[in-house]
Amino acid sequence: MDYHWNWAVFGEQSPDGVNTYWQMLVSGLGWTLAAALAGWLMALVLGALAGVARTLPQRPLRMAAGAYVELFRNVPLLVQMFLWFFVVPELLPRAAGDWLKALPQAPFVTAVVCLGFFTSARVAVQVAAGIEALAGGQLQAALALGLDRPQAYRHVLLPLALRIVLPPLTSEFLNIIKNSSVALTIGLMELTASARAIQEFSFQVFEAYTAATMLYVLVNLAVTAGMQAVERRLALPGTLGTPGAR
């Protein structure tokens, strides 16, 4: 291959004249994690609400939750990102739109909102599926005891559904980390964008992308290990989650 390798590029000064390329990459990682975490919190809250709504007996609530999920699931993230950044502020009242645009971290805020909604649709599907997996027997047992519906959800269905959906939620969390890279299209200097910028400035494209890829893999491993620890802690005695129980 006709390519001039230069790993020392990470020690060189980046165009802002203050930081090295390596620091640029690390700051990108910081933005990636910040956007993913903030979006994740939002997705969990909205997703749990929409997911519960999808399992309720009231038809209008179920339909509204269904429409919410379809809306955010069926448009590519790339396009949603663009719409949130460029179109939504124009649709708002003038003052609100201007305020949004003038936010000091407008790309970050937009990315979080967009990732939050996008991911919440997926979380909602998981949560609903988790609850439905229990819907027959456990719900009836709780109701037969005299619990009302909110109590049945609070004390029986949700704690169990949480354990069921934890593995798929883990992969959604990994997804949101990866998806945050799409925010580069609205100017958020997250990890992939930093790698891109480095290669644009220095033309050391393979070094930049290799470093970014490895950072993603490391984050991925750390998150997977962390979530597995959580799963083990929450595993119920006597189920397959706890080795040697039966």
Binding site: H4, G187, M189, R196, F203
Partner: protein, 286 residues
């Protein structure tokens, strides 16, 4: 190969093209008027025309038919695609600078741009100094962004610099008031204004913030091919047809919408045409 007496003696790109019978040009989709798609799905532009002259030179040197293939490239894949041999020439609007020259070689400079500010006329911003404390947009990964970051610090302007994914998005940021000014290569700004909804609303600043040479990219360390490229560009510049070629793209209506950019030849480009150079140093063009 029969009919190609030089082929055995050649190495690198020329050998490859001689053997395969085709050359692949990396082209851009939206670098008006250097390299872009017209309504018929063909890639056209000033850089593409110059590249075709290089192809003619290659045909002459190899003494055989050479088919031309075009592959669209983007800012993020042009280097790998050149390194792995997918493209042989990049015909776009790529700035030649010292850092990049470590990785690839460039043809003699084909155009010289200045970085300038694009503003709304109503905002009354004339120079970079007027931008103190305001918001500036530049495109991700461009040398302009690099330049503006440096100037912001040197001159202590306290500007907020936001980043657009590509040139149209940077312009959109200005258009939707997310930024007070857009910094970019003046020729690209001219193209954007000409194509915008209200061209009369915008002004391109007079202050040239830097000079940058554009070149056609080829693989490094490929002397025979570089010689052919150099010869082709020199010949094109020396040709009496060159003013017409320039006029075709910069001072006449161009496809697809028939907009006229109206950018006469700058003194810097005149100097380059008179004495071609592939220097990445901006000082060489003052």
């Amino acid at each position: 190969l029969p009919g190609t007496p030089h082929a055995q003696a050649l190495s690198g790109t020329l050998a490859k093209v001689g053997r395969d019978g085709y050359i692949t040009l990396g082209v851009r989709e939206g670098s008006v008027p250097f390299s872009y798609l017209d309504d018929n799905g063909r890639f056209i532009g000033y850089s593409v025309d110059l590249c075709m002259k290089i192809v003619d030179e290659v045909r002459k040197r190899l003494n055989r038919q050479v088919e031309v293939r075009m592959t669209p490239v983007s800012a993020s894949n042009r280097i790998p695609l050149m390194a792995n041999g997918t493209i042989d020439l990049e015909c776009g609007s790529t700035t030649n600078n010292a850092e990049r020259a470590r990785q690839v070689a460039f043809s003699p400079t084909i155009f010289v741009i200045a970085n300038r500010l694009l503003t709304r006329k109503a905002a009354n911003i004339r120079t970079l100094a007027d931008m103190k404390g305001k918001t500036l947009v530049a495109t991700a990964g461009t040398t302009t962004l690099k330049q503006m970051t440096a100037l912001n610090r040197e001159r202590n302007l306290g500007m907020r610099i936001v980043i657009g994914k590509d040139h149209p998005e940077s312009f959109l940021m200005l258009e939707t008031n997310r930024a007070n000014a857009a910094a970019n290569d003046d020729i690209l700004l001219a193209a954007q204004v000409a194509g915008s909804k209200q061209p009369a609303d915008y002004a391109i600043g007079a202050e040239a913030l830097s000079l940058e040479p554009y070149g056609i990219m080829l693989r490094r360390g490929d002397a025979p091919f570089k010689a052919a490229v150099d010869a082709a560009i020199r010949a094109a510049f020396a040709s009496p047809d060159f003013p017409r070629l320039y006029a075709k793209w910069f001072t006449s209506p161009i496809p697809p919408k028939g907009i006229n950019l109206n950018v006469p030849m700058s003194p810097q480009l005149k100097k380059v045409v008179a004495s071609p150079t592939d220097s990445p140093d901006p000082a060489a063009y003052r």
